[in-house]
């Protein structure tokens, strides 16, 4: 268990993502309308780099012949076989109870005591005031 600084909030704008290495795992961080989520970058199907997939909406449950497109920006599709996952929970759309990818907590923090700071950031930075609007994205693994 550890806290890992991914970067500034401004470095992952809404609709964007970052893929990072933390504790030997590849993990994708997603900004969905200002809220941050993290998923393991390995599809439970055949271990594809899931977090490199497309970010879309989805066709919602509907009557035959009816199309309801919703949840734009909340659904991650595997780049290989196209399986759909809910970015917010890591649960698959076709079988949310049994087929899921590991989700991690993400917080936005002004101070980053005890977290590993990326090499390209000044390590003294935690002594500066940081606004929440451009705070640190912290991944909890």
């Amino acid at each position: 268990m550890g806290k890992h600084i991914v970067g500034r909030v401004s470095s992952v704008p809404p609709g964007g993502r970052a893929v990072v290495e933390a504790e030997g795992r590849s993990i994708g961080i997603f900004n969905v309308d200002g809220a941050f989520y993290a998923l393991r970058n390995s599809c439970p199907h055949q271990a594809a780099p899931l977090c490199l997939g497309s970010i879309k909406g989805m066709t919602m449950p509907s009557k035959p012949g009816e199309y309801i497109w919703a949840r734009e920006g909340e659904i991650l599709r595997c780049p290989w076989h196209g399986w759909e996952f809910d970015i917010m929970t890591g649960r698959s759309i076709f079988n949310p109870h049994r087929t899921r990818v590991k989700a991690y907590d993400v917080t936005i923090e002004e101070h980053v005591d005890g977290a590993a700071v990326p090499d390209d950031e000044d390590e003294s930075v935690e002594t500066f005031h940081v606004s929440v609007e451009d705070g640190w994205i912290v991944l909890h693994v």
Binding site: Q46, A48, L52, P79, W80, H81, G82
Partner: protein, 364 residues
């Protein structure tokens, strides 16, 4: 990584590692193929695939686009990194996608096939192939079997073409006599004949289902229907009695349907043998000598034991060969697509059977 050893007695280099029986290289653009087409075809050719039933999600692995740009499967260095080196592939059997047999004009289809062969021979089978990892398929336009046979003759003896290939899309089942010039040429030159999905119901070809399905999911699931019809035709028409040296590779046509279809066909044969008296044994008994299936897209039952049972029913140890279908969307990973296999069966499926089938060097 595949390793290379030199056989002490024969001097032939042997690459250890798996054999991938369905890999799709692509030209960098339409003009690359055009450059191999004579006029008037050069002006007329505009590339293009099947035209409809496009995958609504994505047609190729999203991570397979070369970093330097260009179509998926067009950069040999990136393909080597992502496929050959990643999985320790000793040999990759290349099947380009020319979609040449949907055209009403047989001369146009034949010209496209020839251009793809010239392109493949110049690039993936020579310039990109210093170590011999790539083995090719000769594209033919089956709508003109005599011309297809001449195209096979043109490439006979090439060190890296190991089979002839067609799309499964056709105007008639592949066991019928109009195709025999193709099989005769394959047999004469020791080339396998591969069938790969494509162009079913497109252009002049018939659709192997009752009419056109609505959705890609239906069309793609039912690709195996054409393979079943072609295989029953090839077996019952006595193609393997007529061409005892012929071998058919059923590529990407599905796997698990085989035992049930053979039970059904063998049962029919017991009653109806007199209709096809040239068969000297039960239809299923021809498979081990004459037919191989490539594995991708491998069915994936919830209970993996069921798939292993199917493998036993279908004699997978002798007739199933691994394929990834790289870079297409339904790529099967060599390390994740199969349930855990007994070591011997794994060796057969991932290496030995294909090496025997295509005459590739085999490590002792």
């Amino acid at each position: 990584m595949a390793t290379v050893a030199r056989d002490q007695t024969s001097g032939v280099s042997v690459r250890s590692g798996i054999v991938d029986c369905d890999v799709h290289p692509a030209p960098v653009n339409v003009d690359e193929i055009r450059s191999y087409l004579p006029m008037p075809w050069r002006d007329r050719y505009s590339g293009g695939g099947r035209g409809f039933f496009g995958n609504p999600v994505h047609g190729a692995r999203l991570d397979s686009t070369p970093p330097g740009g260009g179509p998926t499967g067009s950069d040999p260095d990136f393909l080597r990194t992502q496929l050959i080196d990643e999985f320790g592939t000793a040999y990759a059997i290349l099947l380009p996608r020319a979609f040449c047999n949907l055209h009403p004009d047989p001369d146009f289809g034949t010209a496209i096939a020839a251009a793809f062969n010239d392109w493949l021979a110049d690039t993936w089978l020579s310039r990109y192939n210093p170590d011999g990892v790539f083995k090719g398929s000769i594209t033919v336009n089956i709508q003109d079997p005599a011309a297809a046979a001449r195209e096979i003759e043109r490439w006979a003896g090439h060190p890296h073409f190991v089979q002839v290939m067609t799309d499964s899309g056709a105007r008639a089942p592949l066991g019928q006599r109009q195709y025999y010039p193709i099989y005769e040429a394959c047999e004469r030159h020791g080339l396998r004949f591969a069938v790969h999905p494509g162009t079913d119901g497109m252009g002049i070809n018939v659709q192997p289902s009752p009419g056109y399905p609505t959705h890609y999911i239906e069309w793609h699931t039912c690709l195996s229907l054409a393979f079943q019809a072609h295989l029953v035709s090839i077996l019952t028409e006595g193609v393997f009695e007529r061409f005892p040296g012929l071998g058919i590779t059923l590529t990407e046509g599905g796997v698990s349907w085989l035992p049930a279809l053979m039970w059904r066909l063998d049962a029919e044969w017991k009653a109806l043998r007199s209709e096809v008296p040239w068969l000297t044994k039960a239809p299923s008994a021809y498979l081990r000598d004459h037919v191989r299936l490539s594995s991708q897209p491998l069915e994936d039952p919830d209970n993996a034991k069921h798939l292993l049972q199917v493998f036993e029913m279908m004699d997978a140890e002798h007739i199933l060969m691994f394929a990834s279908d790289y870079p297409h969307w339904d790529f099967d990973s060599p390390t994740h697509a199969f349930p855990k296999l007994p070591e011997q069966l794994h060796r057969r499926i991932f290496s030995e059977t294909a090496r025997e089938w295509y005459g590739l060097p085999t490590a002792e």
